[in-house]
Each structure stands twice: as structure tokens, then as C-alpha cells.
């Protein structure tokens, strides 16, 4: 059975859409990641216009982040004060990102910028994650290794506007999380991702937040950033297809349940290593698309 997606204006088999949601949902449940970095490129490969893919994925991430944050909230693992600073930065960044997106689309360079952003940021995170997990796997093989400090202070923590974040046991400049979230917000709007793959490591290593508050707090702010993108894209470009988002979500919810069960069978560093390989595979695929001579150097685009 085919479904004609009302905003994307393309026809897709319903099993393909739900299967895609399920597959990405499985991986996101297994690794505990949002999955936007897989979903958006896959939607574009399947012929969904890139603007629709990015906006619709933002809409879907609102749902998956709400569903994810509830469990962390119940356990009291959301630092609302830190979340508030992050979301202020995220709202500013994502608004700039949506604006940049429509400018790039008008000059015909949006696909290039999306692909370049994926190559750069997936490449960096993939390599860092792979190195970290390999080190962790080696460390478990030699018992008695020393544990490092909880977190290290550097000059970034000494910027003005210092604020105490009780839940995260931090006393740092509010400018640091603000600009971090603003930067991730821009990427979020352009790449159609929640940005957890940058935000989470940055919150741990750059801000020095304790790991248990990081996931809940980042999910909390991702809800608002992606909601902002959904609304701005709806108004500016009318590219949010909630029918597509809803169908992907049905698959993702079910897939994530199975993924979480499989993920529980593996060790943390093994999971991170596997995830790093998937991230790098997506990065390589997009990289080759950019450098390999295309079949046809011409492409046609309907203007509206």
C-alpha cells in the first residue's frame, strides 16, 4: 500500500516508511541515541526533498525526546537550571540555523552544506568515540588501571557570568553552555538532528557535567530546540510533514523496544565502538557522494 505524503509530495510504500522508522528506532534503542543522524540522510537517499527531510525529522525528534525525557525526569536526572541555559542558547542557534537553511536552499547549496556538515561532525565524533571505546576495551583487559579525575577545569570555566548548577555540581560561566547549545542549535537546524551526538560528549568533557544528568538534560533541551525548528520551518518553508513523522515514529517506538533489549546484552564500550563504526559508515557514504564524479552533473529542481 502506497501513501502519498501530503507535504513531501511523493509517494512511498507504507512498509518502507515504517520499516525505516523501525530500523533506525532499533539502533537508537540499542545505543541510546536519537537516530536523527541516520534518519535524515536515509530520507534524503529515498528521494524525500532535503528541506522536508530536515524539518520532518525535527518534528519526529520532538516526540522521541519527550518519550525519552520522561524516564529521566522521574529519576530526577534532569538539571532544569542547566537545561534552561542550554535551551536559551539552543533557541537562538536553531533560529539562526533555520534562516541559514532557507538562504542556502535559495542559492542551491543546501544539499552540499548538509553533506559537508555530516562528513565533518560525524567524522570527528565517530573517530573520537572509536578511540575512546578501544581505549576502554583495552583498559578492561588490564585490571588495576587508575581512574581519572571527575572532571578537569580549564580556562573556559573561568569566563564571566558564573552560575552555580547544583544538580550538576558545577560552578561555571553560563556563557559556556549557552554558546555550546547555540552552536549545536545551528547544526540541528541544518542537519535535521537533535544534536545529542555533539551535545552529550561536550557536556561531559567540556562542561564537566556528571554523566547521570547529561542524558536527561540534553533530551530536555532538544525537545525545545526541535519544537522551535518545527514551528519556524512550518511558517517559513511549509516543509514539516507530520504524516511522515507520525509513520516513522510508529516504527521507531516499536524498534527502540527491541533495540534496548539487544543493547542490554552488550557492554558499554562495545556498544560505543559499534556505534562509532555506524557513525563513520554514514560519514564515509556521504563523503564519497561528494567526491565521486556524479552520474549526471546536471540536476533539476522545481521552484515554487
Amino acid at each position: 500500500m502506497y501513501i502519498y505524503l501530503p507535504i513531501a509530495e511523493i509517494s512511498m510504500h507504507i512498509a518502507v516508511v515504517i520499516g525505516l522508522g523501525g530500523g533506525v528506532g532499533f539502533l537508537s534503542g540499542m545505543f541510546g541515541v536519537g537516530g536523527g543522524f541516520l534518519m535524515t540522510p536515509l530520507l534524503i537517499f529515498l528521494g524525500v526533498p532535503s528541506a522536508v527531510a530536515v524539518s520532518t525529522e525535527a518534528n519526529q525528534i520532538v516526540a522521541s525526546s519527550v518519550s525519552g525525557v520522561l524516564a529521566h525526569w522521574r529519576r530526577g536526572n534532569v538539571d532544569f537550571k542547566m537545561g534552561g541555559v542550554l535551551l536559551a542558547g539552543g533557541l537562538v542557534g536553531s533560529s539562526i540555523g533555520v534562516l541559514l537553511f532557507s538562504i542556502l536552499r535559495d542559492i542551491g547549496q543546501i544539499d552540499l552544506v548538509i553533506r559537508l556538515s555530516y562528513v565533518v561532525f560525524l567524522g570527528i565524533t565517530g573517530i573520537l568515540m572509536l578511540m575512546e571505546s578501544v581505549r576502554a576495551i583495552l583498559r578492561t583487559r588490564q585490571p588495576g588501571a587508575k581512574r581519572g579525575k571527575l572532571h578537569q577545569h580549564n580556562w573556559l570555566h573561568g569566563l564571566p557570568l558564573k552560575v552555580r548548577f547544583r544538580k550538576s555540581k558545577l560552578y561555571i560561566s553560563a556563557l559556556l553552555p549557552f554558546f555550546l547549545a547555540a552552536f549545536v542549535g545551528v547544526l540541528s537546524a541544518i542537519m535535521g538532528v537533535g544534536g545529542g551526538f555533539i551535545l552529550v560528549p561536550a557536556m561531559i568533557y567540556l562542561l564537566g557535567m556528571p554523566t547521570y544528568t547529561v542524558i536527561g538534560t540534553s533530551l530536555f533541551q532538544i525537545i525545545f530546540v526541535t519544537a522551535n525548528i518545527t514551528i519556524l520551518q512550518s511558517v517559513q518553508t511549509q516543509t514539516v510533514d507530520f504524516v511522515l513523522a507520525g509513520l516513522l515514529l510508529v516504527g521507531a517506538v516499536i524498534g527502540a523496544q527491541f533495540g534496548a533489549r539487544v543493547g542490554a546484552l552488550l557492554r558499554g564500550e562495545q556498544l560505543r565502538g559499534l556505534l562509532a563504526l555506524i557513525v563513520l559508515a554514514v560519514c564515509m557514504k556521504l563523503f564519497f557522494d561528494l567526491v565521486i564524479t556524479p552520474e549526471d552533473v546536471f540536476s533539476v529542481e522545481f521552484l515554487k
Binding site: 552540499l112 519544537a227 511549509q238 529542481e301 522545481f302
Partner: protein
């Protein structure tokens, strides 16, 4: 198939009418088996049947020109810049047909000479396409024009010189037409020409409208006419769906 039945009935009717009112010159009547194509939520392209009859002479050659609404199109050309392929040149076609199929019973060039094709405005080169910049360089113009045709043909939107018109006993004709799922809504024009010895002897034009209908059309209108409310609705829908998913799978 009801479409086939109606095709035969109408064709017989047309023939009878022509016998009843004999005319001196050749006449031609054509129609489609549908009045309207509806893009519904389960739309995945539509197959149509074009049929008609010729009277006052034997149908020698039939040409059908199926043309969708004109749209602005951007054609972009990638070039390698520091190892990366990126769009470097763009030409905008202001009035390119979003759908353009030409078919006949035998090769178009054998039915009509090039001069006649130009005179009758048949083919992408002869319908006065306007571009954003004057293409003075002949070689460049040819390359870009063929790139446009190639890209539109790949999408199933343009198709020239297809030989799928069947002529039955020199009087009736029919041709299957396929509108792919990526067609643009609007008014479609179907010109049917009867050609004899490189001369146009009769012509008929019929129209069919392609429109979005049902729930999909409502969602589209909602998104475009009340975009801010649509945005808030999409967010509320996502929040509710996320909460529902969490509640359904909450670990006890």
C-alpha cells in the same frame, strides 16, 4: 474493465454520429477515460486511456501531445571545486512544462518533418521555453537543453517519440497514458493531431485536471494557509505521541 467498456461504447457512438452527419473534411474526436485525476492519500500514479475516432478519411497517423502546467525549473550544474562536486551554475527555465509526453503510432520524425514540427509547436525545442539568461553559445545551449530533457525524462515527466498509439481499422485509435506519482497538480492539455502525408488534416484538444483531494489536500491546505497553527499542531502532536509511547512501554 469499465474503462475499456466505456471506450468501446463512446467510440461506437462517435462513429454513428459521423455516419449520421457526414462532413466533407476529416474530423477527429478524442477523449480520456477519466474526467479528473485525484491525488488522494494513497495516490501512486494513474493510468489513463486516451481514445478517439477519425472520420472522413482513413486515420493514417495520430500524434498525441500531453502537456501539464508550466512551472519554473532550476537546472543546476555541478563542477569539481577542491575535490568536491558542488553546484556552480544555475539556469532557470521560467515556463517549462511540468509534464510533456508526445506519442504517435510510428516514429514522430517519419510522421512529420522537422519544419512541420516547428510550425505546429511540437517538442521541447519548439514551444518557446524562456531561460533566465540568454544562451548565445549554441554549444552550451544544446548541452543545457539536453540536460533538462534527460533529467525530466528520468523522472518520467517528459517522454518523446513513443510509439504506443494503436489505430484500429483506420478509424478508431487509443493510447495508454501513465501519469507518475510526482506530477504537478493543475490543468493538463491533450492535443490530438491527425496527420496525412506530412500535413495536419484534423485536430482536437481535450483537458483533464489533476487535483489534490481528501485528507491529503486538507493537510496541505492547513500547512500552507495556517502555517503557524500547523507548526504548533505538529509540535503538540509530537509531544502527545511521545508521551503515549513512553506510557505504553513504561517499565513496571
Amino acid at each position: 474493465m469499465t474503462s475499456h467498456l466505456s471506450y468501446h461504447l463512446v467510440a461506437i457512438l462517435l462513429l454513428m454520429m459521423n455516419w449520421a452527419y457526414p462532413v466533407q473534411s476529416s474530423t477527429l474526436v478524442a477523449d480520456l477515460d477519466l474526467d479528473q485525476v485525484s491525488i488522494t492519500i494513497d495516490f501512486n500514479g494513474e493510468s489513463l486511456l486516451l481514445f478517439g475516432a477519425v472520420s472522413g478519411g482513413t486515420a493514417s497517423d495520430i500524434i498525441v501531445i500531453f502537456k501539464g502546467p508550466d512551472v519554473p525549473l532550476a537546472l543546476r550544474k555541478k563542477e569539481r571545486a577542491s575535490g568536491i562536486w558542488m553546484n556552480r551554475q544555475t539556469i532557470v527555465w521560467q515556463n517549462a512544462p511540468s509534464f510533456y509526453h508526445i506519442f504517435s503510432n510510428r516514429t514522430l520524425d517519419k510522421v512529420l518533418s522537422k519544419d512541420q514540427q516547428i510550425r505546429l509547436r511540437i517538442g521541447a525545442e519548439h514551444i518557446g521555453l524562456r531561460t533566465s539568461e540568454a544562451m548565445l553559445d549554441k554549444e552550451k545551449a544544446r548541452a543545457w537543453r539536453s540536460a533538462l530533457t534527460r533529467n525530466m525524462t528520468e523522472r518520467g515527466l517528459w517522454k518523446f517519440d513513443e510509439r504506443n498509439v494503436s489505430i484500429i481499422r483506420g478509424a478508431l485509435f487509443r493510447a495508454p497514458v501513465y501519469l507518475p506519482a510526482n506530477i504537478v497538480p493543475g490543468e493538463y492539455e491533450v492535443r490530438v493531431l491527425h496527420v496525412q502525408k506530412n500535413q495536419l488534416v484534423a485536430e482536437d484538444t481535450t483537458y483533464i485536471s489533476v487535483a489534490k483531494t481528501g485528507i491529503g489536500a486538507m493537510i496541505y491546505a492547513f500547512a500552507h494557509d495556517y502555517s503557524i497553527f500547523y507548526g504548533f499542531f505538529a509540535v503538540c502532536f509530537a509531544v502527545f505521541a511521545g508521551w503515549l509511547a513512553a506510557a505504553a512501554f513504561r517499565k513496571q
